[in-house]
């Protein structure tokens, strides 16, 4: 039973994906049933496992490929953090996507790959070995491409090309790093850290750099972030997926695994790798924010904001002090909730009112109050204003920075907060305080319906506030991150 559960978790979306591919365009109900059913089932499984894992259960499944090459699916606290986030957001994004796409063409292809993406993400979360991680990581790369190019216009194709241009060389580097490491120390399991000391320091440093470069393209670390803003050509649910549910998160999660489980915080410190990583993350945070400030397209601004925000996760891990690690772990969820809210809303603005640029937002608050409220909540969360989720992250990272003896990080956080405010608050201001421009004429008052479009945004928006307000609760992301950190890394 325990061995079957991880596989079952994987299958909920894999089966949904496979079955969806073969559905004709017209069978909306069956397709929706499949996808929503899979998502609900997965959430149920996760809820069950959450309780079990708190009590100390570990689920493990091993699938042998070839000697030295096997898949290990392992459910521990860290994987549950990621998988519960992606499953929760998958459900919401599916609801949103059903409403968003309506009866547009190629729905079966879209939802098929969508579920496949989530299956890959689940696999990444559950991977117990480096090579399992790599396999699912690549599966994610591949299954995301059809989604990025879903619209099939020139812009989407270019975005897809840019995506692969970054993703494939990066995964080649990742593969080299894995093989280099494993050819000396044998297969690396996350739960049983191998003795990396069999390699000399220089090799280890190079391997680490390869890992970070390989994962950094997905995690959009500067200078490997170029694909992310280009990918905003994709439909809004895909952006939500890229930015919050799966892709970028997978990169950040990978960095976590590498730092925490493969190298370990002690070895990182010994090799002097923590500081460069923290510097890289800091540069990314500031660069992303500065670039976001220049964007006039809403989704591009959001994309650069992701570049900046995801590096908070990396920064927290790199700082390696208790609070910073917990903050980084929790931000995995926090950023997901906030960013998906923003993309949901940006999608609604685009789809229902044709708003894509910042200056078209003027006065939309009166016409689309719910979307505007959610967007505003997401925005203040991103700035890190209390009591939202982003605030909790900042507090933890800040305290962690001082603990780690890197007070300069506080300056980075402060500068980033100011920049975030500078590129998000004007949007909020436009939404609520400026008179509507020509973009929205009185005649065709945009509507936020159907419910499937707005409800997910409302849920995530309020969730992002709730996880901040109730941060100290046991099952809040922060509480869970604390559990992970205390159980695994800070003993």
């Amino acid at each position: 039973m325990n061995a079957a559960l991880p596989v079952l978790l994987l299958l909920t979306s894999l089966v949904a994906a496979t079955a969806t591919f073969f559905l004709p365009q017209e069978s909306h109900r069956l397709r929706n049933l499949l996808n929503l059913g899979g998502a609900v089932l997965k959430l149920g499984l996760i809820a069950f496992m959450l309780i079990q894992v708190v009590q100390g259960t570990i689920y493990e499944t091993r699938l042998e490929f070839a000697p030295g090459l096997y898949l290990l699916l392992r459910v521990d606290a860290l994987s549950l953090l990621f998988v519960s986030l992606s499953a929760f957001l998958w459900l919401l994004t599916t609801i949103y996507a059903i409403a968003y796409l309506g009866n547009k063409p190629d729905l079966s292809r879209f939802f098929g790959f969508f579920s496949l993406c989530v299956a890959a993400t689940t696999g990444i979360a559950l991977s117990g070995t480096l090579i399992s991680f790599f396999i699912f990581f690549e599966l994610l790369t591949l299954s995301t491409w059809p989604l990025v190019v879903h619209k099939q216009d020139a812009k989407s194709i270019a975005a897809g090309r840019s995506y692969l241009t970054y993703a494939l060389p990066a995964s080649a580097l990742l593969l080299i790093a894995i093989v280099w490491l494993e050819s000396t120390v044998g297969p690396v399991e996350f739960a049983m850290p191998a003795d990396l000391r069999q390699l000399d320091d220089t090799s280890l440093r190079i391997i680490f750099a390869l890992f970070i470069a390989g994962l950094g393209a997905k995690a959009a670390l500067v200078p490997l972030h170029g694909w992310l803003p280009a990918a905003m050509a994709a439909p809004a649910p895909v952006s939500a997926l890229l930015h919050a549910v799966a892709v970028v998160k997978a990169g950040a999660f990978g960095v976590m695994r590498i730092v925490l489980d493969v190298f370990g915080l002690d070895l990182m410190a010994e090799l002097g790798l923590a500081l460069p990583l923290a510097l890289l993350a800091s540069v990314t945070i500031l660069w992303g924010s500065a670039r976001a400030l220049q964007q006039t397209e809403i989704k591009k601004r959001l994309a650069f904001s992701t570049v900046s925000q995801v590096s908070y996760i990396v920064l927290g891990i790199a700082l390696a002090s208790p609070f910073a690690v917990i903050g980084g772990l929790a931000h995995l969820v926090h950023q997901g909730l906030m960013k998906i809210t923003l993309f949901f809303c940006a999608g609604i603005f685009d789809e229902r009112a044709g708003i894509t640029r910042v200056d078209q937002l003027d006065g939309i608050g009166a016409r689309m109050p719910w979307a505007s409220v959610c967007f505003s909540l997401g925005a203040i969360g991103m700035v890190g204003l209390p009591p939202t989720a982003g605030f909790i992250t900042k507090i933890y990272l800040g305290i962690g920075a001082v603990q780690a003896g890197a007070p300069w990080v506080i300056a980075v956080l402060a500068a980033s907060t100011l920049l975030n405010a500078a590129y998000f608050l004007p949007l909020v201001y436009r939404i609520w305080f400026l008179e509507p421009g020509a973009a929205i004429t009185a005649g065709d008052a945009p509507t936020e319906r159907p419910l499937g479009l707005i409800a997910p945004a409302v849920i995530t928006a309020f969730a992002s506030v709730a996880v901040g307000l109730l941060a100290a609760a046991t099952f809040s992301p922060l509480g869970w991150a604390t559990l992970i950190a205390e159980r695994e890394y800070l003993r």
Partner: protein
């Protein structure tokens, strides 16, 4: 008894079917399917026996080597036989609409000739996989060449005739070199049986020094086989030949034909003359392989026709195979990583066969839909033929070496060996080659995904679309379920550590 029958059937069934197809015109497709069934039955009988008893051999008519013909089935051979059977079944099924004679119309030459040629090719391949005698292998190779050349030229147009002739010239030169080498070897050792040659320990201290004749012979045989395998720089014949043939023929030519000569090379250097393989030789072969990877990939990037891209991809993919020599050959054969590299190369050959056949069949589907295979006509094909696009993408995944696929398993095994043995250069070739292949395979895929300007395509039957998908899925499955083939390949693998990498 039944095993012997099955063993013989592997060679005889396609041969007889080919003859039958010559004699009974207009029924070629049916006969081919019967051949598929026969081979399938034989394989089903042989697999458990091989697992149970290890290597199976049969001396036909009781005549032993060196005079008689001995068929010997080991795990390596079986893996190739199975792959060939899978690909042939797919090719023959999807060739039916194109080459089956239609009621009411007369049979064209290509419709008449395709079936016997394909079956003959199959028979020759099976002989090449089962035989252990260098001269028998020569005959098999010649048979293969003749059938392949004829298939290239089957359309009878100037381009394909030229391609066929060029192919023939290269192949004949290779054959002669091979034959000369065989003659020299026989002159020196009095036998052509690989096992008996191995027993003589050529090149080791036991045989008392190395004769110049042996060196020349090895060079001639290797060169001949390299030409037939289209190893860089002897690959120039391949792209025009493979892209000029009709799609099902291309699938066979590209996926299967080079594998026969490669397998002989493997057998020669790993089983018969392991002690002759000096590090410099292994590096030379590896370097040519690496050059093939890079050169083929770059040229594939340059092409504006789908089938040429796929054909140049074959040049590159064959390059990977030759990396096995520096990684697993010679002294390093006893090293723990050698098993990984050797198995990796075999996996590469197998998965390339499946994926490449799938790709050419996809190209066939699209040629039916569009009328030509120029890239600029490919817009919108993903919407019109989603299954084919998916199949092409899956095949590309395997060729690029992305997980989970046979290509990935192969690449992973070889890469691990490269790092474990400290030969990082070959690892770099593998990685760079993977990236380049992603680049050249991306172009047609992205175009297929683009919106069509004028979405008018000829309809293609679902069955024709399904076949490449199944093949591509087989290439993927090879990676997902690589445990069984992995252990199967090790049966009868000579004198080395079988336990794999730890």
């Amino acid at each position: 008894m039944i095993l012997s029958l099955a063993l013989v059937a592997l060679v005889a069934v396609p041969l007889l079917a080919a003859l039958l197809a010559v004699v009974v015109p207009r029924r070629g497709a049916l006969i081919a399917l019967l051949g598929v069934a026969g081979i399938a039955t034989a394989l089903v009988v042989l697999v458990p026996a091989l697992v149970r008893q290890g290597v199976l051999s049969l001396s036909i008519g009781g005549w032993n080597a060196p005079l008689g013909i001995t068929l010997r089935l080991d795990g390596l051979g079986l893996a190739f036989l199975s792959m060939v059977a899978t690909v042939m079944a797919a090719v023959l099924v999807s060739a039916r609409p194109q080459f089956a004679a239609r009621a009411g119309s007369g049979e064209t030459r290509s419709q008449w000739a395709f079936w016997p040629l394909a079956l003959l090719l199959w028979s020759a391949l099976n002989v090449a996989f089962l035989s252990r005698d260098l001269f028998n292998l020569y005959v098999a190779l010649e048979l293969l060449t003749v059938a392949a050349v004829a298939l290239v030229a089957i359309e009878g147009k100037a381009g394909s005739l030229a391609a066929g002739l060029r192919y023939m010239m290269f192949a004949l030169a290779g054959s002669l070199a091979y034959l000369l080498g065989v003659a020299l070897l026989y002159a020196g050792h009095g036998t052509l049986d690989l096992t008996l040659l191995a027993a003589q320990g050529i090149g080791s201290g036991r045989s008392g020094g190395t004769a110049a004749a042996d060196l020349i012979a090895a060079g001639l045989i290797t060169a001949g086989l390299a030409v037939k395998t289209a190893l860089f720089p002897f690959h120039a014949w391949l792209p025009p030949a493979h892209s000029g043939a009709p799609a099902p023929a291309s699938a066979m030519l590209s996926a299967l034909v080079p594998k026969a000569s490669f397998l002989i090379l493997i057998r020669l250097w790993f089983e018969a003359l392991p002690e002759l393989a000096s590090p410099v030789l292994l590096t030379l072969l590896g370097a040519l392989g690496a050059a093939a990877v890079l050169f083929g990939s770059v040229l594939a990037l340059r092409q504006s026709r789908l089938k040429l891209i796929v054909a140049y991809s074959t040049v590159a993919q064959i390059g990977y195979l030759f990396l096995v020599f520096p990684l697993a050959g010679g002294d390093s054969f006893a090293q723990p990583w050698a098993a990984g590299a050797w198995t990796g190369a075999v996996f590469q050959a197998l998965s390339h066969g499946l994926a490449k056949a799938a790709m050419f069949l996809c190209a066939g589907v699209w040629i039916i839909a569009v009328g030509h295979d120029r890239l600029d006509g490919m817009r919108g094909l993903a919407t019109a033929t989603p299954m084919t696009a998916f199949a092409f993408a899956l095949a590309a995944v395997s060729l690029v070496g992305l997980p989970p696929s046979g290509g990935f398993t192969a690449k992973y095994l070889m890469l691990t060996s490269a790092f474990a043995s400290g030969q990082v250069v070959w690892g770099a070739v593998l990685v760079v080659g993977g990236l380049l292949s992603a680049a050249y395979l991306y172009r047609p895929l992205a175009l297929a995904f683009a919106k069509a300007d004028t979405p008018t395509f000829a309809p293609v039957s679902r069955r024709l679309q399904l076949v490449p998908l199944l093949l591509a899925l087989a290439a993927i499955t090879l990676g997902l379920a690589s445990q069984t083939p992995f252990s199967l390949i090790q049966i009868g693998r000579p004198a080395s550590a079988v336990e794999g990498l730890e």
